[in-house]
Symmetry: C2
Subunit: 333 residues, 2 copies
């Protein structure tokens, strides 16, 4: 028998996450039965949306259950298989992160051919992260020639990809992020105007300087003051792809709310939330585009890698302090 350590939700957070909300447990894994595969995780994705899933709220995915293991996108290696589609050593993608290893039916896995790229790329620019950027910018915001594009959380996993897609399509891009290292990265990937929101008194005033003629597209990962600023600076017929609102996830405080709602009418804005689960019919188009851009060196990325399962809770908590540059990942031994 093989054992696996896993990370469980010990209690629902009432305000900011703390270590007390997590617990580690060791479980025995059964050997694979017919059609089953045993996998040892190598890389785990750490994503902001996990935090609202810890609340007891109905949403597009069921909430995490207290006392049960967390989960999330992961890449692992097959260690034993009784499914003819998999053999030991195969790399596989699953939704079963937040544990060392697991045994599941082979149909719950997708085999991964990394095509010469580091496997964790398939959790990032060539995975859900890149797909989120592509869907939001091209399908939800329906980017059009000449659009001025504003991106919040621009140096995060999704934001860095959004900025670069907009740049390679010839747009003026304004990116907001917190801190000098992130701003330097945004400049390196060609972002035209940067806003270090932690150094600014007012996101709105900073955006007014960066985009004196206003913005046509807003890709929002942050919400709150960023969303309100984007409304204030929107041009007629601007389109907002609302991907997340990380500023409000890890707090019990009631959102400050957004106030500049009158302009949604007068400027004929469109604000649309989206989730990639609804867009899998477009996955092929995304993979074609993104594989080509990556091969051509037109999309670059940063990763923030944390070592070992023990550090996964800390990695998640640090997302809400803006600690990550690019994609946050946990690497397992």
């Amino acid at each position: 028998m093989v054992s696996s350590r896993e990370i469980r939700l010990k209690s629902r957070p009432t305000g900011s996450l703390s270590d007390a909300n997590f617990e580690f447990a060791t479980v025995e894994l059964k050997d694979p039965a017919d059609g089953e595969v045993q996998v040892r995780n190598r890389w785990m994705s750490v994503d902001p949306y996990m935090r609202p899933r810890m609340n007891d709220v109905k949403s597009y995915v069921p909430p995490f259950e207290v006392g049960k293991a967390l989960d999330g996108a992961a890449i692992g290696e097959v260690v034993a298989s009784r499914d003819p589609g998999f053999k030991p050593g195969d790399l596989v993608q699953s939704g079963l992160g937040w544990r060392d290893a697991f045994t599941v039916p082979g149909k719950m896995l997708r085999k991964l051919d990394p095509r010469g790229l580091p496997p964790q790329t398939y959790l990032g620019v060539l995975g859900g992260t890149g797909f989120t950027a592509w869907v939001g910018l091209l399908k939800i915001a329906t980017l059009k020639p000449g659009d001025v594009v504003f991106v919040s959380g621009a140096a995060g996993a999704v934001g860095q990809v959004v900025c670069q897609i907009a740049k390679l399509k010839g747009h003026k891009v304004i990116g907001s992020a917190g801190g000098a290292e992130k701003i330097a990265w945004l400049k390196e990937i060609g972002v035209d105007e940067t806003i270090d929101y932690k150094a600014e008194k007012s996101v709105r005033q900073a955006l007014a300087r960066a985009a004196p003629d206003g913005i046509d597209v807003f890709f929002d990962n942050v919400g709150g003051a960023h969303l309100d600023a984007a409304l204030a600076l929107s041009r007629d017929f601007a389109r907002f792809a609302l991907c997340g609102s990380i500023s409000g996830y890890d707090t019990a405080e009631r959102s400050e709310g957004i106030r500049n709602t009158v302009v949604v009418v007068t400027r004929r804005l469109r604000l649309q939330g989206f989730i990639i689960l609804d867009h899998f019919n477009e996955l092929g188009d995304f993979l074609r585009d993104m594989s080509q851009w990556v091969a051509e060196g037109r999309i670059k990325w940063k990763e923030t890698v944390v070592d070992g399962l023990d550090n996964a809770p800390g990695a998640l908590m640090s997302l809400f302090k803006g600690a990550n540059l690019g994609k946050m990942l946990v690497k397992l031994a």
Copy 2:
């Protein structure tokens, strides 16, 4: 020479409108030159959007200018013409309300054939008001079979039409309005669930009772708490047609803001503002639909008629107190 009294913006309101913001003036009208027509107004439309136009803010129409006459949709009668397209006694539509009479080039007028209906109908259900309802519900909210529809300002000029279009298309309709007379009217036109928001502590709680399974479409004339309640009760993929936010027009107070923005992402909502100026290519389709519905008696309407130019400022001010049932009109002698 003929003289005309007109209503001018005397000063920009800083909070709620008052008589002090208006002044009356008498001007001499020149006789029509070649191609010109002299018109005496019979009916004037009184619309909420006039209030934000009194602020010195760039919007989809230029702000009213201090010291100059207000304007708005009107129906008048030709009294003298040197344009071969018009003769005395013709009814005409113009954008030159808020005055007794005027002389303009004939190309600024549209001749009106009332087809047996009271002429003011062409300021209401068969005019911009009805067109607003039709565009918002069918083109912006893209009403789909089975949608549960929530309408704020439901007993107002636009709202009453929205409710009835949704009903004739077979939908469950929830209408919010203030006061018993309006609620009785909503019941008369078949609204399934009514909310007298003035009698409720919480619009959100009232909506939760009226729509226990949530709403798919929100047609918003009011903004503020109504918009926040609709967000809270939205179902996945709900569509919001944002037509106006009268609750915030006639006040200097900063909007309370809306707080339930996280659900825009998690429920994949679409919020879209609109203005009929952008939709004139669809006017023919609207007129075909609405003429038929009116002829079949499937769309009814209420009007609140105020007599005489002297009472026009009061009519406008009363809109923001919710004094009107249906379309607010001024009738000139």
